[in-house]
């Protein structure tokens, strides 16, 4: 029961704690529990609280929730910040643009990632381990620096334009930097490993006999692929897609470095609202609205992961 029975002062303390219902087990559980309650759950309550406050020129720059008036305490909350998000087209546009960019990036990552995962899963050892290592390796080097590398490649006088012009494919440099195209490239590049790993984990378990049976029964390879392989790898497809879609929605670094002034993404809007406009209540309302947007994708991910664990 208790971990502290070794020496007698400990035993006495343990017995005392046990009498009021505290055991060594509970003390152990309490350590991560209290840490997460204070530093993970409580912050969300604070964000919710501030999202219904009024901005104020004060320290901290928002109005208090509980106000002491002449006849006791009262609660002062406003939905003004949410109404503001709804009325100002900037925020609605940023939401749509984030969803659009995250969606098409996910589709692109799936189109590139699926054949790669399939190829890796079908490779013999030790080639398979080596290829898998090559997928994981970039993850261990700095994400910020890898995004930065694309600036040198994509900018008007960058590597890509210089190469394309040298081989005569284009005469004028392509304008890619500071457009949405650069943001797509950055997101697909950054999150491709997150698509490949769950897909690989799923495809490597694919039973060859099912594919053989399908071929023996006269199905062409293409129809075997769409009727056997794809349905069986669905948990991997959903998990991989959500692992790209969810972080892409809140992405800040990629649109800030590769996108232009017109690239609207909700993560960047939140950042500007907080750091440039210093409007904490509106930034909080943006955060809560972003969380609401992510509830469905996060639930899909949970479902895919529990399904993937069953098979």
């Amino acid at each position: 029961m208790s971990a502290f029975q070794a020496s007698s002062p400990w035993r006495k303390t343990a017995a005392l704690l046990a009498r009021i219902g505290l055991t060594g087990r509970m003390l152990i559980i309490a350590v991560p529990m209290i840490w997460l309650l204070v530093f993970f759950l409580a912050p969300f309550l604070v964000v919710m609280k501030i999202s219904v406050a009024d901005p104020m020129i004060a320290r901290p720059p928002y109005s208090p929730l509980f106000v002491q008036g002449p006849d006791g305490w009262s609660i002062k909350a406003t939905i003004g910040n949410y109404a503001y998000l709804w009325e100002d087209s900037l925020y609605i546009n940023a939401y749509w643009s984030s969803i659009k960019i995250a969606f098409f990036s996910t589709v692109l990552a799936l189109l590139i990632g699926y054949p790669m995962s399939y190829y890796i899963a079908r490779s013999p050892e030790p080639k398979r381990s080596l290829l898998l290592l090559l997928i994981v390796l970039p993850f261990w080097t700095s994400f910020l620096l890898r995004v930065y590398a694309w600036i040198g490649i994509l900018k008007t006088k960058g590597v890509l334009n210089a190469m394309l012009m040298k081989i005569g494919l284009i005469n004028e440099p392509l304008i890619i930097m500071q457009t949405d195209v650069a943001v797509y490239i950055g997101i697909v590049y950054t999150y491709l490993p997150f698509m490949i790993l769950p897909l690989y984990a799923n495809l490597v378990k694919l039973d060859d006999s099912l594919l053989e049976a399908s071929a023996d029964l006269g199905a062409r390879p293409i129809s075997t692929f769409f009727r056997i392989t794809i349905p069986l790898s669905m948990p991997g497809i959903v998990a991989g897609s959500m692992l790209v879609f969810i972080p892409a929605i809140g992405e800040f670094v990629i649109p800030a470095l590769l996108g232009g002034p017109d690239t609207l993404m909700i993560g960047k809007v939140l950042w500007t609202e907080f750091f440039s406009n210093r409007d904490w209540p509106v930034a909080s309302a943006v955060a809560i609205a972003m969380l609401v947007l992510l509830v469905i994708p996060i639930m899909l991910l949970r479902l895919a992961q529990s399904k993937g664990a069953d098979t």
């Binding site: 971990a3 502290f4 070794a6 060594g24 087990r25 152990i28 559980i29 991560p32 529990m33 840490w35 997460l36 530093f39 993970f40 759950l41 912050p43 969300f44 604070v46 964000v47 901290p60 590139i112 054949p115 790669m116 190829y119 890796i120 290829l131 290592l133 090559l134 390796l137 261990w140 080097t141 700095s142 994400f143 620096l145 890898r146 930065y148 590398a149 600036i151 040198g152 490649i153 900018k155 006088k157 960058g158 590597v159 210089a162 590049y189 491709l192 490993p193 969810i246 972080p247 929605i249 800040f252 670094v253 470095l257 993560g267 939140l270 904490w280 909080s284 955060a287 992510l294 996060i298």
Partner: protein, 265 residues
């Protein structure tokens, strides 16, 4: 024939896509010219400038300290959480703990950063702690999201592990703490090491959360890099990236070599 070539070609292009940016960082770190497209000949002058830049070196030192402390705290907390979730059975608050341990993995960084900052500000206003923001608040923030990763890594190891040895030890009269330190801990040590390394890397790399919860005087390396690269390509940063790539490549090669050796014996 055509079908047989499709997968290797697509995969090859995919790997090129993953590695071309890294290769270009390394190549241009040796370029004498400051312009990306102009090759001015081989030179190591950017490495010299990097090593004489007090701002970058200072930030790197702060980042290494934060990453070391955060990774260590996250490994302890994450391992306890993993033990509770895999070995304690149905205890009160298990569902809540599961949710809180896994949620940071899918939380957008801007939300984690903003919410922690607002918490720190509210706590300072109410209790006077933490006084101001800086290294301490960054360490708390990094520990919180890194412990989620550690807990996932350690949990998967604990689930795969045969618990009959632990049972045997406690049948022979070992106290729970003794079982943990003598049996469980040595067996999950590889997972603890990979969890620690993962946390260290994540902490060293984080820009968004650190920017929110940092204060004056505590600029981490990513924050300095970000403010420099926002203004355009800086060859000095290429040199820094190359050094990071070399360190990571050596580390991964060593661990791969040992893992292969272990599999063979």
């Amino acid at each position: 024939m055509k079908r047989g070539l499709f997968l290797p070609i697509v995969s090859f292009i995919g790997f090129l896509f993953l590695y071309i940016p890294i290769a270009s960082l390394v190549i241009f770190s040796f370029n004498k010219s400051k312009l990306v497209t102009v090759w001015g000949g081989w030179s190591t002058k950017w490495y010299g400038e990097l090593l004489n830049d007090p701002q970058i070196l200072g930030a790197a030192w702060i980042s290494l300290k934060i990453a070391f402390i955060s990774a260590s705290l996250a490994t302890i907390l994450g391992t306890i959480a993993a033990m509770v979730l895999t070995r304690f059975g149905q205890v009160r608050g298990r569902g809540l703990l599961t949710g809180m341990v896994t949620a940071p993995l899918v939380m957008p960084e801007v939300i984690t950063g903003l919410s922690l900052l607002l918490l720190f500000v509210a706590m300072e206003a109410t209790f006077g702690w933490p006084a101001g923001r800086g290294m301490l608040t960054i360490i708390i923030a990094h520990t919180t999201f890194c412990m989620a990763y550690v807990s996932v890594v350690v949990q998967s190891r604990l689930v795969d592990m045969d618990d009959s040895i632990e049972e045997a030890a406690s049948d022979l009269g070992a106290k729970p703490m003794r079982v943990f330190f003598d049996i469980t801990l040595p067996m999950i040590a590889p997972a603890l090491i990979s969890g620690w390394l993962l946390s260290f890397t994540l902490s060293l790399d984080d820009l968004v959360i650190a920017s929110f919860v940092s204060g004056p005087g505590a600029s981490t390396l990513p924050m300095v890099i970000f403010s420099k690269v926002r203004l355009g390509v800086t060859p000095e940063i290429n040199a820094l990236a190359t050094l990071i790539v070399v360190v990571v490549a050596i580390g991964i090669s060593i661990s791969w070599y040992f893992m292969r050796k272990k599999v063979k014996t």
